[in-house]
C-alpha cells in the first residue's frame, strides 16, 4: 500500500515507525526527512567534525530501524529516544578522544561575496559555531538542544539524564560563556554603534 507523501508528512512519528516496521519504505523516507537533518546538525556541533557527525547520524538512524519492530507504543517519544541515542553516541566519541580537535568547526557553506546583511548573517553563524565549540561539553549540549533544536527543558532533562534545574543551570552558564566569547566581535556581528 503506497501512502502519499503528503499524508505521511502529517503522520505522527510513532505511526511512521509502525508503518516502517510493517514494510513501508516511504515511511522510512519520511522519518529520515524529519530526523536526519537534526541529528546531523547536532552531531556536527557537538563533534566539530563533519565526517564523524555523518557516522553518528547514520548510526542513530540505524538503531531506529533496528528497534522499529520491537517499539512499544506509549512508552516513550520516538524523537526523545532518538535524541538520547545521538547524544550518547556523541558523548562516547568525545570521551574517546584524547584531545578535542575543534579545528573543523562547521562553517556556513556560502562564503562568496554578498550583500552586507547576508555577510553579517554568515559572520554571526560562524561566530556562534566557533564560540559553541569552545564550550564545555555539557553546556554545549544543553545550549544546542535548547536554543538550536528548540527542545523543552523537561525533554532535555530526559535526554541528558539530569534534572530540569540542572538543564536550566547548564543553559544559563553556557549562554553567559557564549556572550563573553562573542563580546569582542561587535563589527562583524553587526552591533549598532550605541554600544
Amino acid at each position: 500500500m503506497m501512502a502519499l507523501d503528503a499524508g505521511l508528512a502529517a503522520a505522527p512519528e510513532e505511526a511512521l515507525l509502525r508503518l516502517y516496521a510493517n514494510g513501508d519504505s516511504l515511511a522510512a523516507r519520511e522519518l529520515s526527512r524529519r530526523f536526519l537533518p537534526r541529528m546531523l546538525a547536532y552531531a556536527r556541533r557537538m563533534l566539530g567534525d563533519a565526517d564523524e557527525a555523518e557516522d553518528v547520524a547514520q548510526e542513530a538512524m540505524l538503531r531506529l530501524w533496528r528497534i522499529a519492530p520491537d517499539w512499544r507504543s506509549g512508552e516513550a517519544q520516538v524523537s526523545t529516544w532518538l535524541w538520547r541515542v545521538v547524544a550518547n553516541l556523541c558523548t562516547d566519541r568525545l570521551r574517546r578522544r584524547r584531545s578535542v580537535a575543534l579545528d573543523a568547526v562547521p562553517e556556513p557553506e556560502d562564503d562568496t561575496p554578498s550583500a552586507y546583511s547576508a555577510m553579517v548573517d554568515a559572520n554571526r553563524a560562524a561566530a556562534l559555531e566557533t564560540a559553541l565549540a569552545d564550550l564545555p561539553e555539557r553546556q554545549r549540549q544543553a545550549v544546542v538542544l535548547r536554543h538550536l533544536e528548540g527542545l523543552s527543558n523537561p525533554e532535555i532533562a530526559e535526554i541528558m539524564g539530569i534534572g530540569v534545574e540542572a538543564v536550566e543551570s547548564l543553559t544559563a552558564r553556557g549562554k553567559r560563556a557564549l556572550a563573553a566569547r562573542l563580546a569582542g566581535q561587535r563589527e562583524t556581528l553587526g552591533y549598532d554603534d550605541d554600544d
Binding site: 522510512a28 536526519l36 537533518p37 547520524a57 547514520q58 530501524w65 548573517d121 553563524a125 536554543h147 553587526g190
Partner: protein
C-alpha cells in the same frame, strides 16, 4: 533574513539573533548520507507477510476436528459423546486396527470415511445395484 543591529550580545535578543543565523546557515544533509541511511532502512525493514502460510487442512487439526467438520461441524453433532462419534467413525472405516486408530497421532493427512478399496463396499450394496461389466 533581516539583519537587525544587535545592542548587546549579552542579552537574550542578542544571542537569539545569533542562534537564528546559525540555524539558517546549516548545511543540508549530503545526498550520500541520505542514501546510506535509506539503504540501512531497506536492509532492516521487516518484510510484510504478503504470502501468508497456507491454512492447515482441517484434518491436521486433529482427527476429531476433521470428523466434526465432515459431519457438518460442531453444531451438527452437538451432544454426541466422543465415544459415539468414534463409533460412527469406526463404522465407516474398515478394516482398521481400532486400537491403533484411536490412539493415532492427531497429525493425520486425511480422515478416510470411505475405504480406498472399492471391493469392500460390494458386501454392503444390494447385488442388483452393482453395475454390470
Amino acid at each position: 533574513m533581516t539583519t537587525e543591529p544587535l545592542h548587546s550580545v549579552a542579552d537574550d535578543a542578542g544571542l537569539d539573533a545569533l542562534f537564528a543565523a546559525a540555524r539558517a546557515a546549516e548545511a543540508p544533509v549530503p545526498d550520500r548520507l541520505l542514501a546510506r541511511v535509506l539503504a540501512d532502512a531497506d536492509a532492516h525493514m521487516p518484510r510484510p507477510a504478503s504470502v501468508a502460510a497456507p491454512a492447515r487442512p482441517a484434518a491436521s487439526r486433529g482427527w476429531l476436528a476433521g470428523v466434526l467438520d465432515m459431519l457438518g461441524g460442531r453444531g451438527a453433532v452437538a451432544g454426541l459423546a466422543a465415544a459415539g462419534l468414534a463409533g460412527v467413525w469406526i463404522g465407516f472405516v474398515q478394516p482398521v486396527d481400532l486400537g491403533r486408530a484411536l490412539l493415532q497421532s492427531p497429525a493425520v493427512d486425511a480422515v478416510e470415511l470411505y475405504p480406498a478399496d472399492i471391493d469392500q463396499w460390494a458386501d454392503l450394496v444390494a447385488p442388483e445395484t452393482v453395475p454390470e461389466g
